[in-house]
Amino acid sequence: MELKMFILVLGLLVGSLMPLGGASGSPGSGTGQDECKKNNGDEKNGNKTTKKSFPVLTLDYKKVRLPFEISLWVLLASLMKLGFHLMPRLSSIVPESCLLILVGLLVGGLIKLVGEAPPVLKSEIFFFYLLPPIILDAGYFLPIRQFTENLGTILMFAVVGTLWNAFFVGGLLYGVCQLEGTNLASVNLLSCLLFGSVISAVDPVAVLAVFEEIHINELLHILVFGESLLNDAVTVVLYHLFEEFTNAGTITVTDGFLGIVCFLVGLCGRSVRGASESTACILAAFTSRFTSHTRVIEPLFVFVYSYMAYLSAEVFHLSGIMALIACGAVMRPYVEANISHKSHTTIKYFLKMLSRAQVSDTLIFIFLGVSTVAGPHEWNWIFVVATLVFCLVARVLGVIGLTFVINKFRIVKLTSKDQFIIAYGGLRGAIAFSLVYLLNPDHFPKRNMFLTAIITVIFFTVFVQGMTIRPLVDLLAVKKKQETKRSINEEIHTQFLDHLLTGIEDICGHYGHHHWKDKLNRFNKKYVKKCLIAGERSKEPQLIAFYHKMEMKQAIELVESGGGSKLPSAMPSTVSMQNIQPKKPLQDRALPQLSKAREEEIRKILRTNLQRTRQRLRSYNRHTLIADPFEDGLDEILIKRKKMKELEKKISQMNNYLTVPAPPADSPSVARARLASDPQAWGLKSVTEIPTIKVELVSPQNPESVKVVDEFSKKGSQPKGSEEEGGLTMRVPSSEKQRKDKTPDEEPQPRFMRCLSDPGPAAEEEDEDEPFLP
């Protein structure tokens, strides 16, 4: 049922696409299609002029054509995506990328049928608009730990592997071209090498699309994915190298030599690119430090800085992809420490929306399909088949050979199963296609043939390999990704082991992995974090941050599950949370079970009798004033203590006069409760009222008492205010008989630290928000 509706919508879309789009589907179409465009436009104008008595209804499509078409494509892509998820059976067999290409083929075919020339994937659109979001998404969420641990392996695969592939494929193809029987003698070595370099690059987009769905273990994922990201540098350099050579016409030995130099420079050009991207990172992180007042634009900084890094790297013909990845990955820890939670969510979802899951990915594949139908083709059996075969063979050989070398240096070796998956996961994709599309036909007469070959290879890898990799993974019982959350145990012990290993390495005198990591961490902590992270968060060690995250999660869960219940183990933690982030909302309060009615009574009493200052004072029960010798204000505390004692003495005297300044309608139990739980308040209340009733008793004390009150209020205001602001006290049930302590916790120490470390009193709170213990 849904399927039918869906197809209907699809048909409508395509139908609307064709006449409206005319010959130009997306902005910047090929030149040959301009005429068609004009024709259509004229047609429309003609339509207009015929019924031109009064422009009641004008059809001015031209104005909105561009955005309209873009939106239409995006809509199409999203609907496709939606559609696939409505057909779960299909999407479990066939990976999304295949389906999308199929759809693209379909749409392209339809458009062609109508006679229009379908839009082609222009390289600029691809490289400047469609690709960056995907790469930024990949870079920002790159699992840094695994990446750096396997960096050596990844680099080997990326650099050496790609080089090997390029030369192998290029060389062999040249050999094939020279064979008799093919009429490909015009293809010279350079073209072949160029072609080889382009086609040998594993494509991050395709890899992402396929690997995401099969959930293999993280090691393999990061290896293949990392390789696909990093090999872009090599590809770009080789590409430009060979292109320059071809443009130059002839090569001499010096040119060859220069080429090698250029290659090395290109690789080392990472440092230049490194400059651009690190500037972007630092700027982004630094800017985010000051955004505490303008939270809404924070995500913008992340995106814009990264995009500029990408573009500036492209200026120098250095790999923009790597710049973007590095930028995102490096920027992330600092920016995340600074930005608000909402901004973080925004960034996450915006990136995901733009890139992988939703738009760019889909569009790329659809366009690929359309371009296949559209593009000029030249089919040469031998060439295409040879390309395919050589690619596969080169990949397998490369992986095996490299693994052999790499395993000598790895602790956790790569098994043959791993090798198979790595080799099999070498998917080619749209980047290769776009690069070939960019080739100048004059210099590369066989460009169309290249295009055909590339498309074939892409199709083969995406369809065949993409579809079969999932059952193969299951068949070979490759380890899947573990969906686990780290426990705090793991976190602590892992850090402990890190320190241990660093120490052992120092004893051995070996500057190993841990040594450098430790040095980097130290440097990071000492200098970098201070600059780039705002305020206190810079000093927060990673463990604490982790711990807070856990606690917050638990607290949120608790609140969501209707929590008013006690948090037994998290109770101490709430205090610690308070220390670091005083601005955190009061999500987790430990409220004892108190009947509502009782609470209401007590509140009423308090409201009628007590003033705010007294409320604050209440907390200073002498039992809580255990001096903490490590805190300042010890003297203050002692003084307060003394005053308290005096006051309590007075209170005990006044207890005899319970009935005199009676509050309205109190049940004895409540009164007792109030007394027991709130001596000071009670006492002070009577103090003020006493002048009216019992002058003689209190007058000698009165001034003193009042003074005490004032003092108390002054001194008391600050801590109580902060207490109310913090609002988190730990409730420990106490017997009401002997101890007159009600509110407060039995652990004054943390209270004090909190009080004195917190900023002063915040908003006034009339309400009593700390219920008494019954």
């Binding site: 145990n489 012990h493 005198g509 070996h510 040594h515």
Partner: protein
């Protein structure tokens, strides 16, 4: 390199050592050189001050514990054998070792690695990591950056998570269980000691 055999002969009981620890002769020699470099006064054994002279170790938050692990209880010196045996814990695991049923577990097995780490926590050697011991470790790792109560709450939570038999302490089995997802073979191995 022709002097390898002669250097090897100078070390007493080197055959037994290689057998026990699984180090190759080249490794033994390298470690011996390091041992001699640390042993500045050439006494043939190391004392705590020699370890203390390694300046990076001094900056390590658990540096003194590591040093302490080298010295068996009661002894004041570390001879070459002990030195190598302790370091053997960090040798990468041999995956293809034939499993002889009667031979004792090699020093660098996963279980022994974990035991070594456990001993660093458990200073009083009672077989459990008590709350205090955990607190001490946390304090040394996190230092002055956090308040005491935060440390306590972290320690409490840690014990709560790992403690399965509710004895308010972490035994070796519980320790091992809490780390079952961590790749100890990878984490506790130093590459060059292969």
């Amino acid at each position: 390199m022709g002097s390898t055999s002669s250097t090897l002969l100078k070390i007493p009981n080197v055959e037994v050592l290689m057998q026990e620890t699984g180090f190759s002769p080249a490794h033994i020699i390298r470690l011996h050189d390091r041992f001699k470099a640390l042993d500045k006064e050439g006494r043939g054994h190391l004392c705590p001050q020699d370890f203390g002279a390694i300046k990076e170790l001094a900056m390590n938050p658990i540096g003194d514990r590591i040093i302490g692990a080298f010295f068996s209880p009661g002894k004041e010196t570390v001879d070459f054998h002990t030195f190598v045996k302790i370091l053997a814990h960090f040798r990468p695991v041999d995956k293809d070792r034939p499993k002889e049923p009667n031979s004792p577990e090699p020093i660098n097995s996963r279980s022994n690695k974990l035991k070594f780490a456990f001993q660093l926590y458990d200073q009083d050697k009672d077989g459990k990591i008590s709350r205090d011991e955990l607190l001490k470790v946390l304090r040394s790792m996190l230092g002055m950056q956090v308040t005491e109560e935060q440390l306590e709450s972290i320690a409490d939570r840690t014990i709560q998570e790992a403690d399965l038999d509710r004895d308010e302490a972490i035994s070796f089995e519980e320790f091992r269980k809490s780390l079952e997802k961590v790749n100890i073979d990878h984490k506790m191995s130093i590459r060059f000691l292969r």
